[in-house]
């Protein structure tokens, strides 16, 4: 039987090599490998052989079959275009319906992941908040001129005897004392992301935006740790060659307070047409003011901390160089805009 297999195989191979069209090849395939093809019939007969021979010949028959299958495919590829079976793979695909996450969701996820990797815990605090948490506990008593910086919306509701008026949080810093109240004993590494509201009359603003607030409190927290955290964020969120710097600023709830800049993504700090000085403004930061720690029930003699709070929209636009001309577009429902994002 062995000789029979070999000779059929050789015969088939010779025919395949000489075949000139797809049809011819198909005929050859049927006559050898089809349901009643020559090789198939031989394989069917294997069961009549004695056990020992069956194994050996079976192996040979299978090898021959595989060799023919391969050769058929090769020969098909070798055929000239015209003699091939017609198929058009250039036709467009039929796509499944694809949705789109909003840019802001992507931004918020990336930002929180970046901080979660160094042990920050993402939290969420009220967007409609007592004056106490938004201002008073942050070392901004009633009537303080620093409050002007936050163009605050007030809710038409009765005033709380202890916590004052209800406001729309103008910043995520209103979560600072709430987080201290929740954790009670440091370490604290918080990332708070929420909607914020400011009464901006100017036409290019939306009265709502998103902020992310970082808060770290522990023993021995220093300005160097703030720098380290900001540089970590810059490297991992914006790109490994990016750096940050601190400049003096003032907030009532931090001391010292900083403005944080990041090197321009185009010139990396050398100065170019886009950025002028080589640096772009990211947002505010500072070392938590001892009065704020006290208001959160944390002893400023034992613990210190830092905080930063930046706009999600702004930060993400700076990362992606999206050059969206008007931040109001982010809050539009125009499908032509929304469908641009993954």
């Amino acid at each position: 039987m062995r000789e029979e297999i070999i000779s059929i195989k050789n015969e088939a191979m010779a025919q395949i090599m000489e075949a000139a069209s797809a049809n011819e090849l198909e005929e050859i395939r049927i006559s050898y490998l089809g349901r009643s093809g020559k090789i198939t019939s031989l394989i069917k007969k294997l069961k009549d052989l004695p056990v020992q021979e069956r194994k050996e010949v079976g192996l040979l028959a299978n090898d021959s079959k595989n060799a023919l299958v391969e050769l058929l495919a090769e020969q098909k590829n070798r055929l000239s275009e015209a003699s091939r079976e017609w198929f058009d793979p250039t036709i467009p695909g039929i796509k499944p319906k694809r949705g789109h996450l909003h840019l802001l969701t992507t931004a918020i996820e990336e930002i929180s992941k970046t901080f979660e990797q160094i042990g920050f815990v993402r939290v969420r605090y009220p967007e409609v908040e007592w004056d106490y948490f938004a201002f008073e506990s942050l070392n901004m008593p009633m009537g303080h001129p620093a409050r002007d910086e936050w163009e605050t919306f007030f809710v038409d509701a009765p005033t709380h005897p202890k916590y004052g008026q209800i406001v729309l949080t103008p910043h995520t810093s209103s979560g600072q004392v709430r987080e201290m109240n929740r954790v009670k004993t440091p370490p604290i590494r918080m990332i708070n992301i929420a909607k914020c509201y400011r009464r901006q009359i100017d036409a290019s603003h939306v009265p709502m935006f998103h902020q992310f607030e970082g808060l770290v409190i522990d023993k021995g927290i220093s300005i160097s740790h703030l720098k380290g955290t900001l540089d970590y964020f810059a490297r991992n969120f914006f790109g490994k060659e990016r750096k940050t710097r601190l400049r003096p600023f003032h907030f009532q709830f931090t001391e010292p307070s900083f403005e944080v800049d990041i090197t321009c993504g185009v010139c990396l700090g050398k100065g170019c047409k886009l950025c002028k000085s080589g640096w772009l403004e990211l947002g505010g930061a500072g070392m938590v003011h001892p009065v704020v720690l006290k208001n959160g029930g944390i002893d400023p003699k034992v613990y210190s901390g830092f905080a930063f709070g930046w706009g999600v929209e702004r930060t993400f636009m700076m990362k992606s160089d999206l050059l969206i001309p008007d931040i109001r577009l982010l809050y539009s429902s125009d499908l032509r805009f929304l469908k641009q994002w993954t």
Binding site: G99, P126, P207, R247, P256
Partner: protein
């Protein structure tokens, strides 16, 4: 506040070879932020509320003289040269009564024979450069000194002050006064005002002078007036009357009373020079509690710990002295004496940290991540669940939107109202996402293909004597989409979230009657969906309710041991038959009916696919037939079904 300082004016007091670019760069790194340099080398500077001491040419020069040497550039402050002045608490030409808590320092001097005319060009140019319109020499001198020293100055026509008498007091509610700009104000009370000997109010102190005492073309004798006021009163009045003058913006930040003498000296000097006026020899100066240097005690270990770097004592001393502080060491302990012009800002050791660190240079500090323990993760955080919902919906073609949570009254049934909204269409906090999403869908009314917009956002449900309940809500809207397709998305979402839910027909506000389904799980409402007028389909769910109802992993059911018999049955039904109920009836007909699916609808014929299963055997045809007969009989009886195959 933003101020403008011309470089040439700055160099009257700052002696340095630094270029304007260097001055801008190094000030920004260690002091006030120079936002830009305008043409003709005018610095545009952002001054923070705590640093009113640098809101002037002289103040900025003092700051720059401390900062530039840290960057290796020589710089020196040229102090203001003053004529010799004689101050006294009592003068012949003016009789005053002062409430000291409103006015910690009150000074005035009579200048006779003032000639009103144009100011010289150099003064006009400098005023123009800082954005002030030149008027005449008397007015210009006031403005010039305010910009040079940061000390507002006022001038009265001396002859209009009846009885040469002044009473500086708190206003009573309802008193009225007309200011220089012709506006008549009815005062809220608690404002600082000056009343003259005739009982007339002649000055809204610290904000703007009264019209009735103003200098005009016929003025001969001027009372030059330099004061410090209680910042809280100034702020209250200025905000209440919306009278935000440059003087008010300075006074409300708390000015240094020591600056009064400088302002007075400079005023006398300029009046003599530019108006030929003859000042009285004695200046009235009522200053009952002169500044005593504040002490702040800290130590080198504290400073180093906050910086995160070892700070040498001598470097600390050098930095603080360059900024005008006095320093006394006792071992590691440092006592710092604060100069009067920094008294409003420097109170606690952390303030000293800032002074030392910014001049030491933030760029010179190390950058390192904190060590130490990690906080516990938040128990039961909602974020992953929300992300899963969003990703699931986008997988089926949903497009996420972010819409404004402030809406008009139409979108906020019983919602909270703002006291100071920007307009009628953003006056309320929304209590549902329906209004916003309907709007979003309508914004795309030109789109003829199906689309699905969704949003995950808080709604704000008012509570009595408390903050509103902020409920994270999932809502979506479909356009050009059939009810069945929308229901399919809702059903699939519930399956994806492993929620066993029941849907019942329940009419709800805004939905078309009979076209709204309420979704419940274990008796608790999760949300609802249905058709709105105008062909839009809408759903809204409470995210927390979904999260509670959702099982992380489905429960395990053992696989059937014996294969199911599968067959299709087609029936037709009379009009107004609820197919949901038909399917429920088929399911309940026999316990061997493992599953039912509606596979086709053609006219009034519905094809159902049924799976018959038995735990112990494969059902034979005869057994299946028996079950089929039982259930078709039930369909006939209950619904009037005609079984076609």
């Amino acid at each position: 506040m933003d101020i403008k300082i011309p470089d040439s004016w700055l160099r009257d007091y700052l002696k340095t070879k630094a270029t304007p670019n260097d001055v801008a760069k190094y000030l920004s790194l260690s002091g006030p932020s120079v936002e830009k340099i305008e043409h003709d080398h005018v610095y545009s500077i952002e001054v923070t509320t705590n640093r009113v001491d640098v809101a002037s040419v002289y103040g900025l020069a003092r700051e720059a003289a401390a900062i530039l040497p840290q960057f290796g550039i020589k710089a020196r402050l040229q102090p203001v040269k003053l004529p010799t002045l004689k101050f006294s608490g009592d003068v012949q030409y003016l009789q005053v009564t002062v409430n000291h808590s409103l006015c910690p320092r009150f000074s005035a001097v009579l200048i006779r024979g003032v000639e009103l005319k144009d100011s010289p060009d150099w003064m006009k140019q400098r005023l123009t450069a800082v954005g002030v319109r030149a008027i005449n020499n008397v007015v210009d001198i006031s403005n010039y000194i305010m910009h040079e020293l940061g000390q507002p100055i006022h001038t009265f026509d001396y002859d209009k002050i009846r009885g040469a008498k002044m009473i500086l007091r708190e206003s009573k509610k309802g008193e009225s006064l007309t200011t220089l700009d012709g506006k008549t104000h009815t005062l809220p009370g608690g404002d600082i005002v000056i009343e003259d000997g005739g009982g007339y109010l002649i000055d809204l102190a610290g904000i703007m002078g009264g019209e009735n005492s103003a200098v005009d073309e016929s003025t001969k004798n001027v009372l030059l007036f330099v004061q410090t006021y209680n910042p809280l009163n100034i702020r209250q009045t200025s905000m209440f009357l919306a009278q935000r003058t440059e003087a008010a913006v300075l006074f409300e930040k708390g000015l240094d009373p020591e600056l009064v003498a400088l302002g007075m000296g400079r005023g006398i000097e300029l009046f003599v020079k530019l108006t030929n006026g003859r000042p009285e020899n004695t200046i009235l100066d009522i200053y009952p509690a002169p500044y005593k240097e504040r002490k702040v005690v800290t130590d080198i270990d504290f400073l180093s710990a906050r910086l995160g770097a070892h700070l040498p004592k001598d470097k600390t001393t050098q930095i603080l002295r360059s900024l005008g502080f006095e320093t006394y060491w006792k071992g590691k302990t440092l006592q710092v004496l604060v100069p009067s012009y920094r008294a409003g800002d420097i109170e606690i050791p952390e303030d000293i940290v800032e002074e030392v660190a910014r001049l030491y240079g933030y760029h010179n500090l190390p950058s390192e991540l904190m060590q130490g323990g990690l906080p516990e993760p938040l128990a039961d955080a909602p974020f992953n669940f929300e992300a899963k919902v969003k990703k699931t919906l986008t997988g089926w073609g949903g497009i996420e939107v972010y819409t404004l949570s402030l809406v008009s009254w139409e979108g906020a049934a019983n919602g909270l109202k703002l006291k100071n909204p920007l307009g009628l269409n953003s006056e309320y906090l929304r209590t549902s996402l329906m209004f916003s999403l309907s709007r979003a869908a309508k914004d795309n009314s030109g789109e003829t293909k199906p689309f699905h917009l969704f949003e995950v956002a808080n709604i704000y449900i008012p509570r009595k004597a408390d903050l509103p309940d902020e409920r994270m809500t999932l809502a979506g809207i479909f356009s050009n989409t059939s009810f069945r397709e929308v229901k399919g998305v809702v059903e699939s979402l519930l399956e994806e979230l492993n929620i066993e839910a029941k849907m019942t027909i329940e009419d709800a506000a805004h939905y078309l009657p009979n076209r709204c389904l309420s979704v419940k799980s274990q008796g608790k409402t999760l949300g609802q969906f249905g058709e709105l007028p105008g062909g839009l389909l809408y759903y809204e769910f409470d995210i927390e309710a979904l999260r509670e109802a959702s099982a992380d992993i489905g429960s395990f059911k053992s696989l059937p041991k014996y294969p199911a018999q599968i067959e299709d049955i087609t029936c037709s039904f009379p009009e107004r038959t609820k197919i949901g109920e038909v399917i429920e009836t088929i399911k309940q007909a026999d316990k061997s009916v493992a599953d039912v699916e509606l596979t086709d609808i053609f006219q009034d014929s519905y094809t159902f696919r049924l799976w018959y299963e038995h735990p112990d055997k494969t059902l034979i045809d005869m057994e299946v037939e028996k079950i089929r007969d039982k259930l078709t009989k039930e369909l006939k009886n209950k619904f009037g079904a005609i079984v076609k195959s």
